[in-house]
Every structure is written in structure tokens, then in C-alpha cells.
Symmetry: D2
Subunit: 346 residues, 4 copies
């Protein structure tokens, strides 16, 4: 059994790791930490776990905890992760970090978009960007994996096949993304107050969301060209799920059938990417509760634009499911282990 | 024009007062106060009001503000109201208080259920309980009206006709009530966090909610007997509305038709109580956005129990609409003035 | 008093007309028709109206009904309107048609996108497109007004100022629109089944929605150039409201301040368009229940794109409120009559 | 491997069986039937299943299908089940029927409440009521299991310990139950139309719901007394889950601690019943997506009433999960096989 620890276990991503790992036959949760709920059982914080996981939340104590495990998930806010990850790496445990702290190959871009100094820049080069569909071999060898952001996972998987082939104009990309409210975390605020969210819909951080830079980095890596794109996130009155509607100008003549074949081929070895048939578009509910990314492709003949619809569950493929997929790869397990279930219906 | 001030204008009940008064042809809002948003326009806090009400939120300054108005609504938390109401009364303005502070004729019962000392007990006898359907004449003469709680409005209107007639066993009453989330106010908390409320349902304060005592006081007043009842509030994943399902044992033989006639007669002069025909039950959406209380009556022959379904919009008939109804009565206006509109469909 | 009839009164747009007209001091509803609920009171179909409007729904009988009224609203499905409108016009009553049947100046474009023959093409030239912010003088003189579609209202108001000025590349426009479920009407279907909509989000009719052609016609009229654009509608798990996120490439240098001033000037005489200040974006809830269209403007310096956020209530400014605004103009009343209220909060 | 067939696989209970059985290591789905989707893959009807279960939906053909399987789930409407179950039993396969057709020991009570003749009354005596917590040994030996209704599961598990002990007055029981919308099935109707359900709440079939009789039968079986109770179902704007609030008069002095111990003892061998500690009440979200029934106990000292809160996922413990629990018992497997997972968080 692989022994795992979860630092930051009571946020939504942390709790989702706990929940998903209870289905994983090769991993045992050895410890959980939580600042807000130290000393309480995780099943007191989330009674859904009662009788299934009744571990007590510990305080962070890297030195002592590192000895007990093979791998640690850090599910901490951006900027906080980099205060614990270096010590974990030094102690010889593998780390999968769910924050943005190690996702960038350029320290400057990180510091510009996250508005803070990077305090463990020595690890930037060692960290592997944990998007298994693009980076599988590096992840297998990694000691530190930077788990991708939720929006970047959705957008990058949608665009990778055509960007790599040079089929779209890299300056024409527009990503109009819509997320459920769990993306904003568990901390109460006016923005996530039920009476302010229900029966409404809004865009936020228009032209300014950090994930813009993460998506641009991913696509530039595939195209070997600089990519400057528009990314607009929106808040949907639902709990889970992201749908990205993506627009890009085609650079050459291609028909729908060819495009769909390109996608099918690109993802033919990937268990968690599903391509819809022509004229079928995926909906959020078709991935809610699962680790899939479903993609629909539409060639708009009137405008010559490619329109891609991409859906994921933000807490699974967009966070904790993908982290377990990375654990599987880092641990030489079947990539699907513990993740091989359908989403919830309805 | 009647000049009105609103103290605590940026909470949901305060904002609803502002919104509703913009439809009132005889009232002008003279000032608004808000602790959290002093100096900001109400239309910055609630952009829905832009171009309609652009008053700035002031700090509370009773001495100066009392001079500018005929009447003041105090939409403050329980316990805070009683720190401003006495000064307003002394300054000679009429007051409609939306908190629980002046709803009780017994200081002891207030102090037991609200767990705090009453600091202006001299006003208890002067305050009139502002349920127009039961108390119209007293309200017309009142200088201080205690606006009823939302649950008590729903439950009292549902039970008044049969309790007054002695048709139900006063010890058998069970009120199973369900409220939308605005009942919990605008302050963010885990309990009202979108991701914790959506797709769930819960009971809270089972056997312990303060409104129990307010309902008991109302019914005891009608029956001249002590009433001890069960009241269980629940949280519904919707913004507005209360539905109360009420059970009581009948004390004598009566049929459905007679019961409905009793209700129709009891409320025949009341513009905001609507009785459904036999076998029809009201739903929350039929009153959302309006000042109505709709009632459905069911005689369960198998058990000999009376079942009453009562619906209101908690922010209107359960708070701000009722407060305006009280203002109309206190100001010798048509009781329906500014309130004579249908709820939103759908 | 103006006497009005509503044909198709029990669909959502029809019921919204009924509800809103109860607030209108110069209009009296003379008759309502409904195929599905003939003989029933509108207040039996919608108990929210009980005691406010208790008219019975009649069968359609144009000859007899036309004599009783000055103006008729036809709230019928596309294709059905054109079977009753000609007779109404012939009988000398004014008509405001809420369907798509008379919105197009080109019969061919209508027939291409609506996939049916136009059966009263003689009225196409007489019909005036009822978007008051662009067409006020023609509406005042019109005998037949074609009330705009909900999405086209939202998108056209958002783009008119910059399209008219030639500030955006007319081939670069992308409209990513999101609507509440009432846009799909009252007829039950799997697509609007609660358990299929809640906690999900989807795009539909990608690249193929009829409103594409209506928006293109509107913008072409403003720019005197052909406009081919991308329009993608989405379904949001909420009842009311549309938010359109609109992207367009700027054709010349301009800054945020200048853009906002352009919008403010363009709409300076318009009571129902509100422009947000720099860096503020409107949310759906800020217009729900009102006749406003609120607009936010963002200049994305990184990409040189203009991003516009536009919100309306689809049943009010997107349908029945706008129809009443048209009635006011056609009847020489204050444009705001009966519509001068704030949306619901929260 | 046990080979199973599902008749009626595309309704919500049928689809939930498919989804849950993909997690079951000892069962293989051999065939699915669907009248509405014959010839289509289940993964076309529910794309969430794509790549996981791609079986085609067959027409019903009992003779041929019975040969291929060990056990069949019938997830058909009431009244339809009894037209296929007898032939399945005759063919020697075990049957778990999710309809109400075989739940009653009294043919008369069934026919009174379901308003139809029972057409295979010879099986009534052979059928075992499939509530494992009460009936485990009979289920193990059964050839035909009648899977309980969703509301009866929730209410019976809540009341069984105190009814069996005679601690509550059997004529005083009131069950105020609230269900998510999936309880109404997948067929669209006005009652389940998104725009009619969202932001509303209603009671339905007050005093008349069929499940009343099923609960009464269950409790009478435990107490050896006739039980006549009030049962009021309500519709909550959420997809899954039932919460029942249950009131009953105590017949003897007992304290909270003793009550909770009674429940803990009663369910000590039951893996899917969880008792909350004193003063803690379960919420729907704590069981959504799981097979648990969670119970909270409150002794209301003021009224001498016992209040019980019971929550289940109506599609799992209230239908398909319980059916699989029954399959496990009938097949001599671990009762928890394939069901041993936590619900979804959040």
C-alpha cells in the first residue's frame, strides 16, 4: 500500500481527495491536516464520511509527518504551498501540489500574475506540470508535480490537438468559461452567499484572471509560438463543473470529420478524454462526479471559426481526480486506478 | 408626503423596504443608514436600484435624523434595535421595528428565549404587535409597532381562525416550517454558503427556535389558553418564501366546506389573505414577490387532523411588506397602498 | 384608458404581460385568450394573480375581439402569429407581436432561418422593429410592431454604440450568451426538466440559433456593412435573465474612458439602459424583475479586444416589458409608464 | 460473476442501477431494456456512461432474456411490473422489483391505494419486503423481493426502534417528508418543469399519498397494532434526497441519551444506518450519492414529543442502492459489496 498524507484536508479539494481515495485500492490515507479543524475528525467536519474515514485532523508537522508517508498532497492556497513543499521534498517524499505555486516555468510570469514573490524558486525547474494527457512521461519520473488549475485543464485539453497541429491562429483564441461555485472554495463570502448566487449569473475578473497565463503557457509549449488569448470566467449557480466555450480562427481548410478524427487520434490512448460525435455537444452533467474531460467540436462554416465545448468536474479532473491520476503515474499504477467510475446521474 | 427613514438599509429587509417604497405614492425616503456601507450610495451596494434610489447611506445620528422624518423603520438585529428605538420615540417619531425586541408582552419570555436583558422595558407596554389581520385598530393608534417575525406571520395567520373558535386542541399543534435562505440575512456564513445549501435540505434549531415563543404568545392571545407547540424550521435551497405545514387535532366534528367558510369569513375584510378552494394547496411561488399570505385547508378524515398549508414571501409579508402595511395603517392611508401588486411569475 | 387584449396569455411572456399591465395606470386588459386553458380564469392558471386579475381565458375570435380593444399583444409561437396578425391589422387595431414573424425586412432570411414560408409577407414592410432605443420615432407611428427577440435585445443594445461608430471590426464579433430556462417557454420537455437542468450547464444550437440572423440584421442596419458573427446560446440553471459576453476587435485606438463616454452619450436619453462605471460589470440579478439593460465595458489591453457584458431580464426587457414600452410609445404615453420599478433584490 | 438484467433501464432508478453496478465487482450487467430507447446504447441516452457501459437497450423478451441471467431488476411503473414479474419467476430467475406491486401483504390495501386490480396475486405471499435492516433473513431466502418505496424507507427506518419498543403512541405519528425532484421520475411534466420548481416549494397529495399505506403496514408489523398516521410529502428544488421530519408522542419517560442508545443498539449490525450524536441532526447532503440512512433524535421536553430527522438519497437507499443491497443478500455476498462508498461532497 502507498501511504499518503493530505495537507489542507478540509477545503473542498482536500475533502475530495479524501473521498476519492476511499475508493482507491492501492492507497491508504495516513494523515490529514487542517488548520481550522485541528483535533476534530474529518467525519465531524463532513458527516458524509462517518464510518468510512474517521481520522483526526492534525496540525502541520512536516518533519514528523514526512516520515510516515510515501507521498503528500498539498491542497493549500496559493502562496502557502511554497512554505511547506520545500521541506517535504527535502524529507524525500513525493509531492503533488494543488496550488498555482509550481505551475510556471517562468518565475517572472508567476510573480506578475500572482502578485507575490516566489519563495522556493529552486524547485521551479524540478516541478513537472501534471496534465497527464500532455506530460505523461515526465510525471512518471517526477518528485514534485504541480497539479493544473481547473480552468487551464478544461481549456488546454480542448485546444491541444489543434494548437499542436497549427490549425488555429494562436492570436485569435477566446475562452469563455463558466464554473460552478465550488471553484471559489469553502470559505464563506458575499460572492458565494446562496442568496447572491442563486438565480443569477456573472462574469468576474474580466481580462485579468490568473489562469489566463497558465493557459497561455500551456499552449505556447505546444505551438512554439507566443500565445496571447482572451479568457473570461463566469460563475454559474451550480456547485460543480466547468464548461468552456472556445473560439478560434482556423488557419487552413479542414472539415468537421477531419477535426473530430484529429481529436480522437490525439486522445486515443487517454482514458479520461472523450470526444463527442459530430453535432453532439457535451453538457456539464455528463462529467459531474467523474474524472472525464468531454469535448465537442463544431466547425462554424458561416464564420470560418472553430468552436470547441469542453466540460470537466472542477473538483475531480480539475483538481483532486487529476491529482490521483498523477499519483497513479508517479507510483507506476494503472492510471485509472480509483478513478474508473461514471459520474452521477442525474 | 410622508417622510420616512430606514435604519439598517443594506440588509435584505432594509433593501426590500427601499425597493418597495419606490412603488409607494405617498411615502418619500428621506434617509438611509448603514454601518457597513456608510458614505456609499445604496445603488452602489445594490446596482438594481441605480437611477431609482441613489441616496447615500448615512451613519446613525438619531437626534439629527429624527427631525427630518415622520416615521422610521428600524431593520436591525435583535438586541440592537432597543439601543436606538427609545431615542426615536422620545424624539416624537413613529417607529416600526423589524426586530424581535418589542414583540413580547412578557419581558421574561423575551429574556428567556433571546438570552439577553431587555434594555427598554418601559416601551414593552406601548409597543403594538403589528399583524394587521389581527390587530388593525391598535396599529392605527400606535407610535411603536413591533413588526412580526416571518415564521410567526405564516403560522399565526394559518391558525388564528380555528384557534379563536376553539376548533383545535391547543396542545396538539405542530408547525413544520420551511424557509428560503434570505431568512438568514445577508451576512455570509458556512450555513448560507452556496455550495453548502444547494442540493441539500436541513432542519435547524429543532425544538429551540425563538419564533416558537412568538407563535405561542399569538395563539394564547386568541384562545385565552396557554399554548405549547412544536415548531421545526427547515432551510430550503431557494432565496425567498416560507411554507408552513401545520397539524392540529380537531376538537369537534366539522367538515371541509365549513372550515373553508370559516377562513373566508375570518379574512373577508383582509386584502392580503387568500383562501384556496377545497383540495387546492398553495405553493411558495404563488406569493413570491408579493404581500399575500395564501392558505390551504385539508381535513384528513383518516386521522381526524386538520392540516393547513400557509405560504408567504418572508421578505415581504414576513418583513418589509408587512412593515409598509403597518405604515399605511399608522398613517391613515389605504392599507394596500404601495403593496397592491402580484408576485413574480414564474 | 387604453383597452388591450392579449392573445396567448398563459405562456410565460403572456402571463408577464398580464402581471406587468396590472401596474400600468393607463391600460386596461379587456380580454385574454388561451388555447390550453379556455374557460378557466387566468388566476386559476396562475394563482399568484388571484384577486388581482380574474379574467377568464377566451378562445381566439378576432372579429369579435378586435372591436373591444385599441391594441393587441400576440404572444404566440413563431409561425402561428402570422395566422392572426393580418386579420387584426385589417380590423384596425394596433398590434405588438412577440414572435419572430415580423422582425425581418428580408422575407428570404426569415424563411431560411425559420424554415417555413412567410404567409403574410405584405405586412413585412409595414412592421416596425420594436427596439425603442434604436427605433423610437418609427415605433411611435407604427400600427404593427415586431417585438425583438430576447438574445437580440441583449446583444444589439450592447453593440449598437460601437458598431454605429465603426469602432469594431464587423467580422470579428462573437456573442457568447447565457439564458435562464424561462426562455424555453412553459411547455414541459426533457431539456427543461428540473432534474436535467439543475446542477448542469450546456450550450445549444451552436452556430445555428435563429437569433443569429436577427442580430446580424440589426447590426448591419447600424453599420451599413454586412455582418457575419458567431452567436452561441447557453442554458443556465436559473429561471430568468440573459447575460451576453461579447468580444470584438477594435479598429482604432481608444481608451476605456472614451468608450464608456460613448455608451453614456449614446444612451443618454434612454431610461432603460444603464452603463456601469469603469471596471464594474453587471450581473444578471441586477436586472431580474426589471425592464433595464445594464452594460459593462472592458477594454482588454493585452489582446486589443473590446469585451462587453450585457444583462437583461429575458421576460421583461427581452419580451413583455419591452412590448409595454412599445405600447407606451405607440400610444403617446411616457415611455416608462408601468415599467418604472426596480428589479427584485435579492 | 452474477449475471443481471435490468428491465426499464433508462428511467432514473434504472440508470442508477446501471451506474452503481459498474462499481460492483461480483455482478455483470447482461442486458438492459428500454421501451423509449430500444436499439440505442445506454451511453447515448446517458453520455456520462460512455466508455463504461455501452450496452444497447433491448426490447423486453422475457423468455429469451431470462435464460441469460441469474437475477433481474424490474424498474417499471406500478401496474406494469406485475405484467412481467410472473413470467420471470416462472422462468426461474430471481427478481427484485422496484415498483409498489409486491410490497403489500394485503391485496385489498394495494388495490384501494393504487386504484387497480392486482393481476398476479398468487405472488403476493411469496414476495419478501426488501428492507434489509428489518427483514434480512427472509431476503436471503427470497426469489422475489419487493424493493421498498423511497419515503417508506426513510420513515420506517426512523421509527422502527421506538415503534417496536412501544415507546410512541401509534396514533400520534406525523411524518412531514420532503423529497428532491428525481422522485417524480424522468418523464417531463409541468410539475417538474425547471421554471415551475426552482425557487418554489410545495406540498402535494396531502393526506392521500400511497406511501402512507406502505409505512402503516411496516409499522403495524413492528408494533402488532394498527397504525393510522399522517404523511405529507413535499417537493424540494433539488435533484436527490429525502428528509423526513417525524413527530410522535412518547408513551413513557425516557431521556435523550437512552433514546440514542436504543437506536444505536437497534442498528448496531447494520452497515447503512448511522445515528447522530445528541443535538446533531443530519442534512440531506450528508447522504447524497450514498446508500446511508442517517438519523437524528430529539426529545422535545416542552411538548413531550419525540422528533426524528431521517435522511436518505431517494435514488440509492430509496431505490437502486437498496436493490443492490438486496441482491447482495439474495446472492450470499457481503451486504456492502458495491455500495461501500461515501456520498458526494459537497
Amino acid at each position: 500500500m502507498i501511504k499518503a498524507g493530505i495537507i489542507g484536508a478540509t477545503g473542498y479539494a482536500g475533502a475530495e481527495l479524501v473521498r476519492l481515495l476511499t475508493n482507491h485500492s492501492k492507497v491508504e490515507i495516513e494523515f490529514l491536516t487542517s488548520r481550522s479543524f485541528t483535533g476534530q475528525k474529518i467525519s465531524e467536519v463532513y458527516p458524509a464520511l462517518a464510518g468510512i474515514v474517521d481520522l483526526k485532523c492534525e496540525e502541520i508537522d512536516i518533519k514528523q509527518q514526512a516520515k510516515r508517508v510515501d507521498i503528500v498532497f498539498t491542497a493549500l492556497p496559493h502562496g502557502v504551498s511554497m512554505s511547506v513543499v520545500p521541506e517535504l521534498i527535502k524529507a524525500g517524499v513525493k509531492v503533488i501540489d494543488l496550488s498555482g505555486d509550481y505551475r510556471y516555468s517562468s518565475q517572472k510570469i508567476y510573480e506578475d500574475w500572482y502578485q507575490q514573490k516566489h519563495e522556493s524558486s529552486e524547485l521551479i525547474d524540478k516541478a513537472v506540470y501534471g496534465l497527464p494527457e500532455l506530460n505523461k512521461e515526465e510525471i512518471k519520473e517526477a518528485g514534485l508535480v504541480a497539479n493544473p488549475g481547473c480552468y487551464p485543464t478544461s481549456a488546454t485539453l480542448a485546444l491541444a490537438p489543434v494548437v499542436e497541429e497549427g490549425l488555429v491562429d494562436s492570436q485569435s483564441i477566446i475562452i469563455d468559461a463558466k464554473s460552478g461555485v465550488t471553484g471559489a472554495g469553502r470559505k464563506p463570502s458575499r460572492v458565494t452567499h446562496f442568496s447572491e448566487v442563486a438565480e443569477s449569473f456573472k462574469a468576474y475578473k474580466v481580462g485579468e484572471h490568473r489562469h489566463t497565463s497558465e493557459i497561455e503557457q500551456n499552449l505556447a509549449g505546444l505551438s512554439a509560438k507566443e500565445v496571447i488569448l482572451s479568457f473570461t470566467p463566469h460563475l454559474v449557480p451550480m456547485k460543480r463543473g466547468i464548461l468552456s466555450t472556445i473560439y478560434a480562427d482556423l488557419t487552413q481548410k479542414v472539415n468537421s470529420k477531419e477535426l473530430i478524427e484529429l481529436y480522437q487520434k490525439f486522445y486515443s490512448q487517454e482514458p479520461f478524454a472523450r470526444i463527442r460525435q459530430e453535432e453532439k455537444m457535451p453538457e456539464v452533467k455528463e462529467v459531474t462526479g467523474s474524472n472525464y474531460c468531454d469535448l465537442g467540436i463544431k466547425l462554424d462554416k458561416r464564420t470560418g471559426r472553430l468552436i470547441i465545448i469542453s466540460v470537466i468536474d472542477n473538483l475531480i479532473k480539475g483538481a483532486s481526480g487529476q491529482a490521483i491520476q498523477n499519483l497513479n503515474l508517479m507510483s507506476d499504477l494503472d492510471e485509472k486506478e480509483g478513478l474508473d467510475f461514471a459520474g452521477i446521474i442525474p
